[in-house]
Point group: C3
């Protein structure tokens, strides 16, 4: 089989077509089997992954590093840009042109939208975007899709209710774009000031059956997947307004009980106050499982773009 992603950068979820995504899924299934049986597969044993994190994210960084190591590869890591040449005034373009000569594949997290794309223009080695400001985080979206498929067998026909910060959450924008390839219903629930941006809505509206509300209980009964995102305090100038909202947008066991039978709850994590810790013990909770799928999905992606 020809792997179309071979040596290609992954900046946006739209860099993958349906066939690519299916290949990610079937590889991730195999990776998961290997992890669970304790086998290490050595398809990256002569390769080096560089992780460049210009913004802290232990989870994402460790997930990629674990994936690379489970594939038999090695890792070099900049966990904190304050200890880097960036602090001497070096441009991102220069850093990338140097780090590409140390590694076979670069994972980058950056506070500015477009940074990963810029990096890919200066690198002869593939770049994986691990989050660029309010831009994209394509491997998170692949993990989200994989989780739905894994838990339900397929994505088509599902009703997904997305709750929280729909304005700034890059996770949500990438997810909507990806879901628009499937036959699904999406309910978008957020406070008014954190509603889905018009351009994001317009991008997908012809292809997605969407409903919009500010009421978190409205769609619970028809929801297969409740996708919860973090509401960040920094988004509010009025802290009382924040306090009021964060309370009314917190998912509790009582909300869980209103969900459709067999429904699951997802969250890209970290979670702060959006989901009550009691929900963790309900059969619907799937956010830690979702994080668990991060390693096999990233193993799949890494092996597809840089495997031996």
């Amino acid at each position: 089989m020809v792997i179309m992603l071979k040596n290609r950068s992954i900046i946006s979820i739209s860099d993958l077509d349906g066939e690519d995504i299916n290949e990610v899924f079937s590889r991730a299934d195999k990776m998961l089997e290997n992890i669970e049986s304790g086998k290490k597969i050595n398809v990256m044993s002569s390769k080096i992954l560089a992780t460049l994190f210009y913004e802290p994210s232990t989870r994402t960084r460790l997930s990629f590093e674990s994936a690379m190591e489970r594939l038999g590869g090695s890792v070099i890591s900049m966990a904190d840009s304050k200890t880097s040449s960036t602090s001497k005034g070096e441009t991102l373009a220069d850093t990338i042109r140097i780090v590409e000569s140390y590694s076979d594949l670069i994972v980058i997290r950056h506070p500015l939208e477009g940074a990963a794309f810029l990096a890919s223009r200066f690198s002869s080695k593939p770049i994986i975007n691990a989050g660029d400001g309010s831009g994209e985080h394509p491997t998170q979206t692949l993990i989200d899709l994989y989780t739905i498929r894994k838990e339900f067998g397929s994505i088509d026909g599902k009703t997904i209710t997305i709750i929280g910060d729909l304005k700034y959450g890059r996770t949500v924008h990438s997810l909507l774009s990806a879901l628009s390839r499937y036959n699904v219903t999406v309910n978008l629930v957020s406070p008014e000031n954190l509603a889905i941006p018009k351009h994001v809505y317009n991008d997908v509206k012809g292809r997605l059956n969407m409903n919009i509300s500010t009421d978190i209980t409205k769609y619970l009964g028809e929801t297969d997947i409740l996708y919860v995102t973090r509401i960040q305090k920094e988004r509010f100038t009025d802290k009382n307004e924040y306090a009021r909202l964060i309370g009314s947008y917190k998912i509790t066991v009582s909300d869980v009980n209103k969900l459709k039978k067999g429904a699951i709850i997802m969250h890209p994590l970290p979670r702060v106050d959006e989901i009550s810790s009691e929900v963790d013990n309900t059969p619907a909770a799937r956010y830690f499982k979702q994080a668990y799928y991060g390693v096999p999905v990233r193993m799949a992606i890494i092996s597809m773009i840089a495997g031996e």
Copy 2:
């Protein structure tokens, strides 16, 4: 042989019984042989160790990472909690539930007592406590015991004089608890405001022959092992008091000369002013050797709880 520690967390030195400790010793002997002959043993080659350090400790972190790599395993590392999701408000429980899915074994250092125990409650993978506030640091204690056994052949029958901060030093509390399993005499020497806490004393008094003093010279002539600990400036409100004490509690060559023949000096390190640098050149100095034993002892522990 059945390894009782297989898949078990090590939070306290009391998690190991006498047989476990003997198994650590005999494995550490073999690991030491391997290190010295330059052999790498691949008992962890498909495994990943995560080091989560919520408090800086280069020595302890690098010692565990070196141990894992000498066993053929891989490492993922959070060296600094300021670059982590903790800074976004994530709870320790959530971090652990995610990191356990990236790794096969987690080593945690945390400023709060009880943190490692809490971590072990949320992890299906074994946790090793690498220091939790004024709580425990069980692998340090194993290294201390191993050093005594290695240097003297056995622990029974020895006289150990422990000097310095006996109040806050977690190393001392774990060590006392471990020594109470052996037939030894322990002399406890500290400034009055840093004396051994009553509950720690009471815990071991029935099983240990103990003496208490504020005079560092009092027991030198009968001491086999002089165990020195750091006195931290932060513990004193009166800085003149600190300056006076730190001077009178500094071990010099003249003190070393008063020790029993064949005696050794140990220190969990880092050392600041408690031992004069001239002592480093005396035959009694064993604190760097003790640090050297850190890797084989940790190799033993890691292979026992997570080996293939």
Copy 3:
């Protein structure tokens, strides 16, 4: 062949004689072949490299770590001294005596001149100086020499014009010392307040044909290698003076056009404003290639001093 560097520390470029340097070159050629053909050579597979960075330098650290991993070895890393025992007041000598027991080879970067030498006095394992304040950075010099030889076939007979901060730049001092072993002409061009220090000049003047100027255009027509270094703002008390100079010392395409036919431009990087980004696209630009040679040269050095 007997490797004279086996188990030796590299503190200064003068620790290597001509034969050593030739051996570095021929090994680096082989390493480069291995990198380009995607082969991993396992001459360090049971060894651990410790990188101790008391001063941030992502490039140098990642370059050494990549070199070690491409040789099949493992790495333990202190990327930031603020997360280390140094913050508890431990001396460098103590840190080294401990870290040497965790590793087979130590790479150290430190803000103070002489730190790497001091480290080598307390270590039974080889130390590589990766920059000690305004002291030396010998592997950078080896990369510089290797780049010239690789691009021109030999070093003898070339004219090298060095531009920028010749006073504080440790790179320049090491490079001059190394070049004095070859039959070359060196032009030294800098602002007056950043001229080459008298003692550095005197050290090499009998063995090197040198010219000095403040005019960056003066030697362009006869230059085979234009070696540009960074001028640091911190060196100027008068910020207007800095602004004026940084402008007149910036290499532009018009300067490049005045160079001798076939000339190349080198820079130890990071570059801030010393070379216009348009120069990157000229055939003379060789600074990213120079960084690319960092890994094979460091693989050569590591394998020579600590290879199996």
